[in-house]
């Protein structure tokens, strides 16, 4: 088979054996939980090794849940669960919300408005290196609130790279710029529900339990935090890579074949306004998310070809993650894990801090979405009657796993420029991760103590 090396086959067999072994060793658990544990272990293994694309693993886990916990459960002496339990998550409202965000980003990108915005700001940054670095990180973070972190980093690195190559090889300023961009992209994603898929997973899992977090509520929790963490990251970057360069400017003279500015910006701002004011009009965020597609399609700015180019793999990944979460919850496996993983009487903030550090750690080595899918279903079970703080905090901390080139796509893109070494990324990334988790846990604790009613429940 094309692309199937011996290593991948052996890893695949190892994954299956681990899953079978888990089933055999967990004989004390009810049959449903044993089956779910096996599927969970296989999924985690496949996500860590990435021998198949991570979205395929997500679909595979939903398929195995529906097969083995559905009618197949009778073979293991368990009551079957309905297959719809594992397929309904693929139509969860957060999938629609993310889809709306993808459409907005697609139309922005197709009309070169993303580059135009980027260049507009860059041209006004002057020539002080620290201002340029802060400006670049700021633009990156703001763009990645609404666009994919990957695309934002690609635009920014492509823009900055020619000027960075003009610096002395290995210069600190080059390193600061090429690390500041991916880190700002990772951090920017925390500010909005559509900023990065782990946010959507958290919202989806909360919605399954009847808790609704509005777009506005998420931004209250995420946006100020994003600003603070970004400024800290800038400070750490600047301190770690002190430069003697006194002047640095970017030549921004790209011609943008931009078009349809009026309708795209109007639709964008109208959509964001509707998202932020749902407490007034009570139109759910997912319904608002369809407005851009409808407007752009009628205006001829979003075609069938654009629809095909939407990142369906990411949506499937989120859907599969929610399906896995549903399986872990319905079989009671989450409660069992919680019993063993966390000692009773452990302080609530301690548990949140523990999970936050844990997810940042595992997200360093694997996909953020996969990490969120593994940890958040357990976290939501642990958080009892007030899961809002736990889920938002832990989901945000997923974005802080960024110490390695493989940690996130933005890191991989910046590293691929060959302007930074992995040890530079590790030194700064590990420090930023630790500081950001501490700041985030403290911020969320403060926020939910000051505004206990902030998390609107339904």
């Amino acid at each position: 088979m094309k692309g199937w090396s011996l290593r991948r086959v052996l890893l695949g067999i190892t994954g299956i054996l681990l899953a079978v072994l888990a089933y055999l060793m967990l004989g004390s658990l009810p049959p449903r939980q044993r089956i779910m544990a096996s599927i969970f272990i296989l999924t985690v293994f496949l996500w860590i090794t990435e021998i198949i694309p991570i979205f395929v693993t997500a679909v595979l886990s939903a398929f195995l849940c529906a097969l083995l916990l559905g009618q197949g459960a009778t073979l293991f002496g368990a009551q079957p669960l309905p297959a719809s339990l594992f397929f309904n998550p693929f139509a969860n409202t957060v999938i629609v919300l993310m889809f709306g965000g993808f459409v907005l980003a697609r139309v922005f990108s197709r009309n070169y408005l993303d580059e135009e915005f980027c260049d507009f700001i860059l041209a006004r940054l002057g020539n002080k290196p620290q201002v340029v670095l802060l400006g670049i990180m700021g633009i990156t973070a703001v763009m990645s609130m609404w666009m994919s972190n990957t695309a934002t980093t690609a635009i920014m690195v492509a823009t900055v790279l020619p000027a960075v190559r003009g610096l002395r090889p290995g210069s600190n300023l080059a390193k600061a710029l090429m690390l500041g961009i991916p880190f700002a992209a990772n951090i920017g994603g925390i500010a909005t529900p559509i900023g990065t898929p782990p946010n959507a997973i958290a919202l989806g899992l909360l919605a399954e339990r009847g808790y609704t977090v509005s777009f506005f509520t998420w931004m209250i929790a995420g946006f100020p935090l994003m600003v603070v963490v970004l400024l800290i990251t800038f400070g750490l970057t600047w301190a770690m890579f002190k430069t003697t360069v006194t002047e640095f400017s970017l030549k921004v003279s790209r011609e943008h074949p931009t078009a349809n500015r009026g309708i795209v910006y109007t639709t964008f701002f109208a959509t964001v306004l509707l998202w932020l004011t749902d407490a007034l009009h009570h139109i759910p965020s997912a319904v608002v998310a369809l407005v851009p597609m409808l407007v752009f399609s009628v205006a001829g700015l979003f075609s069938k070809e654009d629809l095909r180019l939407i990142a369906w793999d990411i949506l499937l990944l989120i859907g599969g993650g929610l399906a896995l979460g549903a399986g872990i919850k319905e079989t009671g496996l989450a409660d069992t894990i919680v019993q063993y993983a966390v000692p009773s009487g452990f302080p609530k903030f301690g548990v949140i801090a523990l999970f936050s550090f844990f997810i940042a750690l595992i997200a360093t080595f694997m996909s953020n979405t996969a990490a969120a899918t593994i940890v958040l279903p357990i976290a939501v079970s642990l958080s009892g009657q007030s899961p809002m703080m736990m889920m938002i905090t832990v989901a945000i901390c997923t974005s802080y796993g960024m110490a390695l080139p493989i940690s996130t796509p933005p890191n991989a893109i910046a590293y691929g420029s060959e302007m930074i070494q992995s040890k530079d990324m590790f030194r700064l990334g590990a420090l930023v991760s630790i500081v950001a988790v501490i700041v985030t846990v403290a911020w969320q604790a403060l926020l939910f103590l000051v505004f206990p009613g902030l998390a609107v429940t339904s």
Partner: protein, 116 residues
């Protein structure tokens, strides 16, 4: 690595020159088109419709492609970037080797027809 496929230098059907001028037309929302003109006699030679474009700096071209993409795996993104750059340089070398090894007898359209 063994060479496969075909390769040829674009040439003018009127004067046989291989010196060409490219006019690249970019329109928002449309595929980019390249109109090729003979630099010697000024005749229209061909039109290419681009799906992707790679410059002399393949990694920057890869970044241009990633501008419209989403990814959720750092490892896969890194591999894709490395593969893209390698394939560009490898393809360029192969194309030159194929031209050097074969007689350029076919019109480019005939080569393209055979690959459909």
């Amino acid at each position: 690595m063994s060479l496969c496929g075909s390769s040829k230098r674009e040439h003018c059907m009127k004067c046989e020159s291989v010196a060409m001028l490219n006019y690249v037309m970019v329109k928002p929302g449309c595929d980019t088109e390249v109109f090729v003109e003979c630099a010697t006699c000024g005749a229209f030679v061909a039109r290419y419709t681009l799906t992707t474009y790679t410059s002399e700096d393949p990694y920057r071209s890869y970044l241009r492609l990633m501008r419209k993409k989403r990814s959720d795996s750092g490892a896969a993104t890194r591999q894709a970037g490395q593969k893209f750059v390698t394939e560009v340089w490898e393809g360029y070398r192969q194309a030159k080797d194929l031209v050097a090894d074969s007689e350029e007898v076919d019109h480019l359209e005939e080569i393209l027809d055979r690959t459909e």
